[in-house]
């Protein structure tokens, strides 16, 4: 039993850390966010050269054969840097879609390009009326000749503006909220009928409302099984949540650490703020919550990596806990910094924002608590002795 990183994992962690500290100073990040692209193509190229873009893909697919633990390590470090490049959209989301549902032809067409950085992709799953429900898909894909015609609008699609391909969930049969009848399609963003309304998100990343107006695709653009796309969407969600939560846990560590450091320096009433017990206790609680999130992150990631049937339940538990603890830690950090906590000058404010954004993605903590509760095992009542165990 051991929670240590392997030599390769330590190298990976160190190389990301090194990159972040050299390139992702808060001021540099702010300037980069304000460029029209919103991120650095040069950094993207470096990610490709460092092998990061190929991390989750198998060697036979042209990647570097990393597993979910490697991705967790990667995302935790990238999260600390609050990077602006579309790693999450292209490598995590589209990567998960391709690896779990891509045909040989689709993999061939995209993975090499994603790994080299020449192709970017994203996944469009959300719709306004659906809130967090992946089943609820109003966008339709109607059979037309050998192919399909897609119509509908997708919400808050990560980095669609710079994506060469959008993997979109559309309804091929059944009623709007049916579990069955959803199919994923690989759509070239330049296809006729695809239009984007682009905007920044509050965390300085980019997203779009994507409208599909009678977009023609061929049968070979179907990703995964026809009408059974929900399973693939859920796989994508599971992997995305693990990645987002790894990122969140990285941010949580910095939130409590920065807060402790700041309060050691800042004096009021003739004392360093960190001398006040009420603040010491808050810091201890922030540390505890961050560690509890890390424990669940490890547990869910390891179980998913081992293909355990418990993994999905643990992923719901993780997303719930990270959402809840993220509020507590983020708010505690801002409160402890006083007025400085609400300015854009310190990085804690940016982690605070990012944690709020992560909670909104793929279901907030209330949603995941509901999901967990539904999947929770209720042991059969064997009618044993009526008393509770001694504790």
């Amino acid at each position: 039993m051991d929670f240590n990183l392997s030599e390769e994992q330590t190298l990976l962690k160190d190389s990301v850390e090194k990159f972040i500290s050299a390139n992702y100073d808060l001021n540099d990040r702010r300037k980069l966010a304000q460029t029209s692209l919103g991120y650095s193509e040069d950094f993207w190229k470096q990610y490709a050269d460092l092998g990061w873009l190929g991390l989750p893909f198998s060697e036979s697919e042209g990647g570097f054969g990393g597993d979910l633990i490697d991705t967790m390590i990667m995302m935790e470090q990238l999260g600390k840097g609050l990077i602006l490049e579309p790693y999450y959209a292209s490598v995590i989301l589209a990567g998960a879609a391709l690896r779990n549902g891509g045909t040989a032809e689709q993999k061939d067409k995209l993975i090499g390009g994603i790994v080299s950085g020449e192709i970017k992709a994203t996944v469009a799953y959300a719709e306004e009326q659906a809130r967090f429900n992946l089943n609820d898909v109003a966008t339709t894909a109607e059979k037309s000749g050998d192919g399909y015609v897609i119509s509908g609008t997708k919400s808050v699609v990560a980095n669609a503006e710079t994506a060469d391909f959008i993997i979109v969930a559309a309804r091929t049969s059944g009623d709007r909220a049916d579990a069955k009848g959803i199919t994923l399609f690989l759509v070239d963003t330049k296809s006729e009928g695809v239009s984007l309304a682009n905007y920044p998100t509050v965390d300085a990343l980019r997203a779009s409302e994507v409208t599909f107006a009678n977009v023609q695709v061929s049968a070979s653009d179907v990703m995964g099984e026809l009408d059974n796309g929900l399973g693939l969407l859920e796989e994508i969600r599971d992997e995305a949540i693990l990645a987002l939560c790894a990122e969140a846990v990285g941010g949580m560590d910095l939130l409590y650490q920065d807060t402790v450091e700041y309060c050691k320096q800042r004096e009021q009433f003739g004392h360093a703020l960190s001398d006040f017990q009420t603040l010491k206790h808050r810091f201890s609680e922030m540390f505890i919550e961050a560690e509890q999130c890390r424990s669940l992150l490890y547990r869910a990631t390891l179980e998913k990596n081992n293909g355990s049937s418990e993994a999905r339940k643990l992923i719901h538990a993780l997303k719930y806990k990270v959402g809840k603890a993220g509020r507590f830690i983020g708010q505690g950090a801002v409160q402890s910094h006083g007025g400085m906590g609400v300015t854009e000058e310190l990085r804690i404010g940016h982690y605070f924002i990012r944690l709020a954004v992560i909670d909104s993605m793929f279901g907030n903590f209330d949603y995941h608590l509901d999901q967990y509760t539904e999947l929770m095992t209720i042991p059969e009542d064997k009618g044993e002795e009526d008393s509770m165990p001694f504790m």
Partner: protein, 382 residues
């Protein structure tokens, strides 16, 4: 990163399961066949699992201890008071002289002498080092004369002996001048008064000492160094308090009971609000189990528990109390009938008892507020 148990550990897990299946007295036999159970444990060499090999312990690895906890918490074991075997014995093994070890350890091992702990005083709770109970050496240097009082003495009314922190000097820092003494509760001048806790239970007492004469041979280690020995003991106390595996098991049992509680034509387990509260507790425990594993892995790999171990007592006791509360809530109206007559489901009264008796978990062994101070100091460097 790998959480799987190795082949030897898996074999050990099986060995524990088989041993319990063969020897553990169940149901009513837990009380009538206690002696056989302890004999079987001793024969197996598993009666004093926290003792070092030199004194008859099994020399388990941290992982084996973890496995034992995990497997045995799923059963009801005949209880052993922790004061002798778990708390005092490690101090004796580390700090007592050979003669004292030979005198006291065998009876502790065989549960022949029941011990109680003389630590807290009315004026020294969380701030234990400010204790005042006085021990003065007689002119001939052969005895200490004890005057003072100890409080919250669990099982003091039935204990045979007490291990007691006394003040032999008030010069210098309060942590110095504390002396660790052992004496017979039947000594002249020892008086035990019961303290009834919420719900009318009698577990704890206040103990008064008036000119109690204790031979110097009963002093552990050096005079004035008792604080060092006591601190070590508190670590052993805290280790057992978190009880995470036990909480996991108790929550499973609560889910079973909640199927028997009617809510109109439905069952409590189907009540969305209640079920969600169970889910929240379960998620916290899923995390805490892994926090414990991470601490264990650090123990195995580096010899010392990582910073996350500081969380275990604090969160572990909070989770116990959460389960107490949920059990109380599950009992509903039948949580209130008191006394010896049974009304309503048995666990309903038990839930109230748990709720009332469970409050000290976050108070003793270093209260939660002290634990947070400790984390701030040791982990966050404040």
């Amino acid at each position: 990163m790998d959480i799987s148990l190795n082949k030897e550990d898996l074999a050990f897990e099986k060995e524990v399961e088989d041993f319990l299946a063969e020897h553990l007295p169940r149901g009513h036999e837990m009380w009538t066949k206690r002696a056989e159970w302890f004999a079987a444990l001793k024969e197996k060499g598993w009666d004093v699992i926290n003792w070092s090999k030199e004194f008859g312990g099994p020399d388990w690895s941290p992982t084996q201890h973890y496995i034992w906890d995990k497997v045995s918490c799923r059963e009801v074991l005949p209880p052993v008071m922790p004061f002798g075997q778990v708390m005092l014995a490690p101090v004796l093994m580390k700090y007592a002289n050979k003669e004292q070890q030979e005198r006291f350890l065998p009876d502790i091992r065989d549960n022949k002498v029941m011990w109680c702990q003389g630590y807290s005083e009315p004026g020294a709770g969380s701030d234990l080092a400010s204790l005042k109970c006085k021990a003065e050496l007689t002119d001939d240097g052969k005895h200490y004369i004890i005057n003072g009082t100890k409080i919250w003495t669990t099982m003091g009314h039935v204990a045979n002996w007490i291990f007691c922190l006394t003040r032999t000097s008030s010069d210098g820092p309060k942590q110095e001048g504390i002396t660790f003494l052992l004496f017979d509760m039947k000594s002249p001048g020892v008086e035990v008064k019961p303290i009834y806790t919420l719900g009318g239970s009698h577990h704890v007492n206040q103990v008064f000492f008036t000119d109690v004469k204790v031979p110097v041979e009963n002093r552990i280690g050096d005079e004035g160094k008792g604080w060092t020995y006591a601190k070590g003991l508190l670590q052993h106390e805290r280790k057992g308090i978190a009880g995470i595996s036990r909480s996991v098991y108790a929550l499973e049992k609560l889910k079973e009971k909640a199927q028997r509680v009617p809510v109109g034509d439905s069952r409590l387990i189907d009540d969305a609000g209640f079920k969600k509260k169970i889910a929240v507790a379960e998620i916290e425990l899923l995390a805490l189990e892994f926090t414990e594993l991470r601490s264990l892995a650090d123990m195995v790999n580096s010899g010392s528990p990582g910073s996350q171990s500081s969380i275990l007592k604090l969160k572990g006791t909070e989770m116990q109390q959460t389960i107490h509360e949920l059990t109380l809530e599950a009992g509903g109206i039948y949580a209130t009938p008191w006394g010896n007559k049974k009304f309503g489901p048995k666990f309903s009264k038990g839930g109230m008892e748990m709720y009332l008796n469970g409050r000290p978990a976050t108070i003793y062994g270093g209260c939660s507020e002290v634990q947070k101070d400790v984390i701030a100091k040791r982990v966050l460097g404040l």
